[in-house]
Symmetry: none
Subunit: 388 residues, 2 copies
């Protein structure tokens, strides 16, 4: 319950019933969903108690052990609040789900409804490549700078890169967890989650103390898809869980974008397939994602044209190194470092990045610019005007 909640909570009975349901059954439990859809959470719970309705054995056992005071204490101890439909903080996008969550535990200084009003899910593989993490970080930062909240799952790889990209520009970000909001999963992301909670929130539909078991990840993915205005998958293998987020977004009528990648990369096979099967739009940069999910007219992406120079897209250090490199012959990395005023480690990182994007190549014992930049520009006469 929010600190600002009135002394008398008009939703008290509803809130107690919904917390009970969240404790009794797993997310997306179909029997429970049918009961509460027909009778409401309060009456359906009363029916359970008087034996007028039944759940599975495990749920029935949990009903006997239900202790709401303990739930409130655990919630308070974790610094969380319980949000239910009717609360100002409830993200109304969740109402588009076939089986919405009974309630949410929300932890952090942000307001979940306000945060998700203009938000994008940026999700992808845990086992991401450097390419994927770079794109996720750039999208996280770029979209946050445009006022979008970045919603993701706090996992290793793409998720973390997206959250960190937003945080790097003091943007807003939300993590939806498959475990209780009192837990840090993965534990290596305890600091990341703490950072997210400053300005943003961490959210879950399972009570504090709950462990991150597999079905809860799939359930969590639907929250990410429904809370946001659109979903972008940055990298995903053919069986990546992030593809389920994309499917749930489609189910909810949200636009879905996917970042293409090399056909030789297994972590791009899923995103390429989404695009190939027309389940996702191909998105290349922040502007294209903003156009996909943003207000029509406000966030139109410029058509990518050849007049932008490739080096414009580089970060500062790789660009300095690129500018120092010759077009012909080969320059030793040390010399490029001196010219670009960078340390040896910085030069090597920059050269690696330039090689990855095809803007520098090894030549003999040194490095040089690739000719592709010239060739691209050489086509300054666009071919469309001389069409046959």
């Amino acid at each position: 319950m929010s600190a600002d909640a009135p002394v008398v909570d008009p939703l008290a009975a509803e809130r107690r019933a919904r917390v009970s349901w969240a404790r009794l059954v797993e997310p997306r439990d179909a029997t429970a969903a049918a009961l509460v859809a027909e009778h409401g959470h309060v009456e359906a719970l009363a029916m359970l108690r008087r034996g007028a309705a039944t759940l599975g054995r495990a749920a029935t056992e949990r009903l006997h052990g239900l202790d709401l005071e303990r739930e409130w204490r655990a919630t308070a101890r974790s610094g969380a609040r319980v949000v239910v439909p009717g609360d100002a903080e409830w993200p109304t996008g969740l109402d588009d789900l076939a089986i919405p969550p009974h309630c949410l535990w929300v932890r952090g200084t942000g307001d979940l409804a306000a945060l998700t009003l203009r938000s994008v899910a940026v999700v992808g593989a845990r086992s991401a490549t450097a390419y994927g993490e770079r794109v996720a970080a750039e999208l996280g930062a770029g979209l946050a700078e445009r006022g979008f909240t970045i919603v993701s799952g706090a996992a290793f790889g793409i998720d973390a890169a997206a959250h960190r990209g937003a945080l790097a520009v003091d943007g807003r970000t939300v993590a939806a967890l498959a475990c209780g909001v009192d837990r840090a999963y993965p534990s290596a992301h305890a600091d990341l989650l703490a950072e997210i909670r400053e300005g943003g929130v961490v959210v879950s539909e399972v009570p504090p103390g709950s462990a991150p078991i597999r079905p809860r990840f799939l359930a969590r993915n639907r929250l990410i898809a429904a809370m946001t205005r659109g979903t972008v998958v940055v990298e995903a293998g053919l069986r990546s869980g992030s593809l389920s987020t994309a499917r749930r977004a489609i189910d909810c009528g949200r636009p879905v974008g996917a970042v293409p990648g090399p056909v030789t990369s297994v972590t791009s096979a899923g995103t390429n397939q989404l695009i190939r099967e027309h389940q996702a739009e191909l998105v290349s940069d922040t502007a294209e994602v903003a156009e996909l999910v943003g207000d029509i007219g406000v966030d139109l992406a410029p058509v990518r044209r050849g007049d932008a120079r490739p080096e414009d897209a580089l970060r500062e250090q790789p660009r300095q190194v690129w500018e120092a490199l010759p077009r012909h012959g080969g320059m030793p990395a040390e010399q490029a470092g001196v010219l670009a005023r960078l340390t040896p480690a910085e030069v090597l990182a920059a050269l690696g990045e330039l090689e990855l994007v095809g803007m520098a190549e090894r030549h003999g014992r040194g490095w040089r610019k690739t000719t592709l930049v010239d060739d691209t520009r050489e086509g300054a006469v666009p071919s469309s005007d001389v069409a046959g």
Copy 2:
């Protein structure tokens, strides 16, 4: 003329006239095209000679210097044959072009019509990355193994990798050149071209001795697009010439595929854009390309051929302007003029005509294509399943 040609060539007069036209004017010369379309090559040439029709000054000078015996000698010396419509070796796909070639010079042991019956164009950037060349070689080999002839332009980068992939599995491959078939361009590919001619052919619509100048590359691209059953672009910058091949393939109703790549790679920006704008299907491997181009039937009658497109009805200048306009955002009239190589007055007239027929509209201070036309074109590519 083929070595197997009968002693009396039933197409002799037509062949002489067509060779004359190929010598007189550049490929896609609109005045010449209109004359021969109305009067036939033989009569149109006679009209030129008696002054009943005129061409530009350069062509007129060439008419005075025309020496057909010299042309036959040069053709024979280069080991080539002249192929015209009506010859068994004429690739009937060329008849789908708005301005088909007057004739073809063909050099090699293969039969061009047989070679192109089941063929795919595999094209892309000269300044390819290792990734692009790897994919091009794999597609070249894989498609050749499935019985497809690989047609490309013998350029550095993607083209050469595709040819070599086919040759590596003893597959069949065809190189279409922007210069005469007696020349090796690029000269570093003399051996590659010789290898292609064993089993395959090298083909050009410009006479032996002709130099590879820029407009001939664009003209050559339309031959590659029209001769084949489909085109795959492997890597291309935003202004790569291979994008013109893709556009001409679309014009001819051929399916177009594009290989996606990292959004951080400038040489994948063009292919990613083709996919993003639903002008090409995303293809990841040989099987997907074979599916794209392979199940049309035995003859060269593609399914999408009958679809009339609104821009087909436009005159040349409005069409050039229309092709230059973006789908989103707005392009200043001046910029459209530069892209379409028209004077300010011509651009304004063209824009007025486009606005009148509803194919262009003002947007901000600029102009863009109307969505009406996009909808028509993208009808074959469902994007609706992404939306709600």
